[in-house]
């Protein structure tokens, strides 16, 4: 049985950890003090680079690499903390904000010290009223104790943190959408390049980091790079040996919801399989797993054949899915995939910012098609492939075989791929919202096609048994393409040979 590995959440349940004094008793701010006392800013950037820390917000981009893109000669530079956690199925940042806001402040302080940043904006999701209240209270305390403001802790650094509530748009979780919203404009993503690291908030270099990423910094600084890199799947030992060396280090806050007995946030080392994760969350509620969404609702779905996929950035990318924000939704055999897709598509059609053409008018279209299928109005055509010969009546004529064409399924796939093509990973949209729409649409439809066909054929939603509903692995393109890490047993066998 896999155990939780609590790093970020270690002191989460300590009573009153949100207050400065209690936090201080649990090593609070010592890591920041260590950073200032022992390291130069460049050392910290190097440590973050060496630690292999990847952005926890969704894209999984190397944090150290991102920092290295920031031009050091342009003042001022900004740090923008993305606390607009709005991916369906994700709720890990919220606990940090509500229960342990000082950890975030410490992470921000370390980042500001490393990057020479004086101003930080924390963009908090508007619905997180409690989170904002707790963070504001913690900020007040930190200002009072001299850890924020002018001449922080006697070091001569000036660091200010401002909180800014969002107004409830999903797209403001996208880094440039967030920046636009922060500047007081309509929350619509910008064209990239220039990336925020070069031109971000108020057209100045900006580091945009997720709450969870920043919360990792105190532990990297406090315990060292070596300690940090030991966590996660070890690669190089043959067991985890992806085609391209790509570090997956540290822990991840997995938000497990859906059909499990004990849903919640679990902090685990990266690289556990879906099956292990379901076990951690108290096991499956129901008979068998039908599907797992591995990284928030925009990630392509995994079937029960793919439960051995490791939940880390590289393995999921290789499995044609993504870890995203770590929002894992488990579905058991009672769930209807058409209905699930409809739910998700309603969300995306509502949340499209409407800036660029494909997404503005493509997402509602996809939703409408799925709605039609779910309502039992899906279109199906019978076509006859022409083949000439002697017919039953003894005349010369067309004896071709008839074939059922599910017109709406082809249309659904085509429209979704026109927003963003999931096969070539190209999108015609400004931001990656496009691919966040077509990924679920296409993957659900391809991997659970029998259920979609049944809904059209029988003009109503039909929940098929798991085995029937799922496209077998040999027909599943994504499954064929995926990378399977070797098990220890296999490894031993090969070495023995």
């Amino acid at each position: 049985m896999v155990q939780e590995k609590r790093i970020l959440y270690e002191h989460l349940d300590v009573p009153n950890i949100n207050t400065f004094d209690v936090y201080r008793q649990h090593e609070g701010y010592t890591r920041f003090e260590k950073a200032i006392a022992e390291y130069q800013p460049d050392d910290i950037t190097k440590m973050v680079m060496d630690s292999g820390l990847k952005g926890r917000g969704g894209a999984g981009f190397s944090t150290g690499l991102k920092w290295s893109f920031v031009p050091k000669d342009i003042e001022p530079r900004y740090l923008c903390c993305n606390a607009d956690e709005s991916e369906p199925g994700t709720f890990s940042n919220r606990y940090v904000l509500e229960k342990n806001p000082h950890l975030l402040i410490e992470g921000i302080l370390i980042c500001c010290y490393a990057m020479g940043i004086e101003t930080t904006y924390v963009y908090i999701r508007g619905e997180f009223t409690l989170g904002k209240k707790m963070l504001d209270a913690a900020l007040k305390e930190a200002y009072e104790r001299g850890y924020l403001g002018e001449n922080v802790h006697g070091t001569g650094l000036n660091i200010n943190i401002y909180t800014h509530p969002g107004a409830g748009a999903y797209i403001c979780g996208e880094e440039t959408g967030l920046i636009e919203s922060l500047e007081g404009k309509r929350g619509q993503p910008r064209n990239k390049p220039p990336f925020p690291a070069v031109e971000g908030v108020f057209m100045k270099p900006t580091v945009v980091q997720n709450v969870e990423t920043l919360c990792n910094l105190p532990f990297i600084v406090g315990n060292g790079v070596e300690w940090y890199t030991q966590m996660g799947p070890t690669y190089g030992d043959g067991r985890f040996d992806p085609p391209k060396p790509d570090p997956n280090t540290g822990t991840k806050l997995y938000c497990i919801s859906g059909d499990v007995n004990e849903p919640g946030v679990y902090e685990l080392e990266l690289g556990l399989t879906c099956t292990e994760l379901i076990e951690v969350a108290g096991g499956l509620r129901g008979e068998e797993v039908k599907a797992v969404i591995p990284g928030g609702s925009s990630a392509p779905i995994l079937t029960h054949y793919e439960l051995d996929t490791r939940l880390d950035f590289t393995s999921l990318t290789l499995a044609k899915s993504m870890l995203g924000s770590g929002g894992i939704i488990v579905m058991n055999e009672t769930r209807n995939i058409v209905d699930c897709l409809l739910n998700i598509m309603k969300f995306y059609a509502h949340e499209s910012c409407g800036q660029c053409t494909p997404c503005r008018w493509g997402t509602p279209w996809v939703r409408d098609i799925v709605q039609r299928i779910a309502d039992g109005d899906g279109r199906q055509t019978t076509i006859t492939r022409p083949k000439f010969g002697v017919t039953e009546s003894g005349r010369w004529g067309n004896t071709g075989e008839t074939e059922e064409i599910y017109e709406d399924l082809d249309l659904l796939e085509s429209v979704a791929n026109n927003i963003a093509n999931v096969d070539t990973m190209t999108w015609n949209t400004i931001c990656v919202f496009g691919i966040a729409v077509s990924w679920p649409a296409v993957s659900y439809m391809r991997k659970f096609r029998p259920e979609f066909e049944a809904a059209i054929r029988e003009s109503k939603l039909v929940t098929l048994p798991v085995a029937e509903a799922t496209v077998p692995p040999e027909e599943n393109y994504a499954y064929q393409q995926r990378f399977i890490p070797k098990e220890f047993s296999e490894l031993q066998e090969t070495t023995e040979d």
Partner: protein
């Protein structure tokens, strides 16, 4: 200069040129909606997608460039000359494909999306015939729609004095919003709602009553830049199909800026005026005063026949009669008793012939300048409307004074002279000119007042003989704007009734008085101006051309 490979062409373009413009310069169309050369580039329509080439990532130098994974928007892809080690295929600064299968497919897809909520009401849409959506759909789109769901039907909106919004047709390219933010600086327009429910709107209260209307002086430009039929001018609504109108390149006569315009007309009059690009004067824009100020040309009240005053009543007469009456009067009086007044609304040619007539035939040195009264100056971030409401004050002043030691009577000195004169030949051409008391008193004292004008006005009421002249739309000629640009206006429509071009009237008078003025067309006069007027040496008919010429 950047050396780029565009499809199969090897071309050179200025550094910083984007691909849409570079392609346009070489006759290749890259369809686009949100991009407008005068505005910022949000790249939100995704129509100008192109394929750019780059060496594969991590490849050694000298590796042939391959198409990038993602398509790029042509409007935001600018090219500039690269250092030798970064040249593609060892010689190009950029390699771009605007007609590859991927690009063609992407355009089809975007057009399909653009049309899903579009009402396809071309038969009743004003824009049909000059609509980018229509044109690009024909050239780059599908012939069939796969969309069978219900279409959005956002409401039709009245945005301001001259602008209507048919929201259903809107493709949310945000050109109009950016225009109001960047060029007029007034920011009336914005987007409301989100996603597929995006609508352009003005600020409104919760009940829907407008808080601020789109009524700035440049508002009409949003209609021009709207690539579809969403923003419609109330002035032009349902008046004509664009393909039924003829076009003449001209200059706006509303103020001394001298905006380049296209006058669109049919045989029965002017239908609309649209701005024409000029890099140094008006860029892509013009103001609403100029745009909507053409109606006097079409007026039913236009002077069509000469008038003469008999017993205090003005009655129509024939040209021969009117001209004889004038020449008799002119030959009766001494040269010192004659004042000739030119018009700042008239062309350089009108004023040159008038100057020649006064100087060579009448031998008078008393030349004055008349024009519209000054209005207000309006400054916008990227545009200025000048206070001088005459198109040709600078030109008329120089030309009238050219043979006279540059002395032109204006203001109070002019009206003093007029009050003491026996015969005054006043060329007006100013619509709606109200007279001030001093002006009226002076004109009333004149024994014999000849007025050449286009519309009945306070000035013509006082005249003993009225000669019907022409407006800017009815003659060829040149205007000199406030910054010294000499630009050509072109005849669009015929003058109403028996009205004649102003310089031709003057020339007939001269001929009756045995003067030696004999021009046949406006260009001939322009060449004469170039020869005889100081500073106009370069402004020959041939040199002025389409873009005009700036005086040294």
């Amino acid at each position: 200069m950047a050396f780029i490979k565009l499809n199969d062409l090897e071309i050179e373009v200025e550094d910083g040129t984007n691909i849409v413009e570079a392609a346009k310069q070489h006759g290749i169309e890259v369809p686009h909606y949100c991009y407008h050369p005068g505005l910022s580039r949000p790249a939100n329509c995704r129509m100008c997608l192109i394929e750019t080439y780059a060496p594969p990532p991590g490849a050694p130098p000298g590796t042939p460039a391959v198409p990038g994974r993602q398509l790029a928007t042509g409007c935001t892809t600018s090219v500039r000359s690269a250092p030798p080690e970064r040249k593609l295929d060892e010689k190009y600064d950029a390699i771009v494909q605007t007609d590859s299968p991927r690009v063609i497919k992407a355009r089809e897809d975007i057009l399909e999306f653009l049309l899903v909520h579009h009402p396809l009401d071309c038969p009743v849409c004003d824009q049909a015939g000059e609509c980018d959506l229509q044109d690009f759909s024909y050239r780059h789109g599908h012939d069939k729609s796969r969309y069978i769901e219900v279409k959005n039907v956002p409401p039709k909106k009245d945005l301001g004095p001259d602008v209507l919004l048919y929201s259903t047709r809107c493709i949310v390219c945000t050109r109009c919003i950016r225009f109001c933010d960047e060029v007029s600086g007034s920011g009336e327009l914005g987007l409301i709602n989100r996603g597929s429910h995006d609508e352009i709107d003005i600020p409104r209260s919760h009940e829907g009553t407008p808080i601020q209307l789109l009524d700035n002086k440049l508002a009409g430009n949003v209609v021009d830049i709207c690539p579809v039929g969403a923003l419609i001018s109330k002035d032009f609504l349902f008046k004509s199909r664009p393909w039924f109108m003829e076009k003449a390149n001209s200059i706006c006569s509303g103020c001394s800026v001298g905006c380049n315009v296209t006058v669109e007309y049919k045989t029965d009059g002017l239908y609309r005026i649209k701005p024409r690009f000029h890099a140094d004067i008006n860029q892509h824009w013009m103001c609403d005063d100029g745009r909507l100020g053409y109606h006097y040309v079409n007026s039913d009240d236009r002077l069509q026949l000469p008038l003469k005053k008999i017993g205090g009543e003005q009655t129509t007469t024939q040209w021969s009669d009117a001209l004889t009456l004038i020449t008799e009067k002119l030959s009766e009086v001494e040269a010192d008793d004659i004042v000739v007044i030119g018009s700042a609304q008239g062309t350089n040619e009108d004023n040159y012939v008038l100057q020649q007539f006064a100087h060579d035939v009448l031998k008078t040195t008393q030349l004055g300048l008349f024009g519209q009264q000054p209005g207000e100056e309006h400054k916008f971030p990227q545009f200025t409307i000048e206070a001088d409401k005459n198109p040709n004050t600078a030109g008329a002043r120089t030309i009238l004074g050219s043979a006279n030691g540059n002395v032109v009577l204006e203001g109070d000195t002019l009206w003093e002279k007029v009050a003491g004169a026996k015969v005054v030949y006043l060329v007006s051409g100013v619509p709606d000119r109200a007279l001030e008391d001093t002006e009226r008193e002076a004109l009333e004292k004149v024994e014999f007042l000849i007025v050449q004008d286009v519309l009945p006005s306070e000035v013509t009421e006082l005249a003993d003989v009225v000669l019907p002249g022409t407006t800017f739309a009815e003659k060829d000629g040149t205007f000199t704007n406030s910054t010294g640009w000499v630009q050509r206006i072109r005849k669009a429509i015929d003058p109403p009734g028996e009205a004649q071009v102003d310089w031709e009237i003057t020339q007939q008078l001269a001929k009756q008085l045995d003067g030696e003025i004999d021009y046949h067309f406006a260009g001939e006069i322009a060449n004469a101006i170039a020869e005889n007027v100081e500073g106009y040496g370069d402004a020959t008919h041939q040199n002025i051309g389409n873009t005009g010429i700036k005086l040294a």
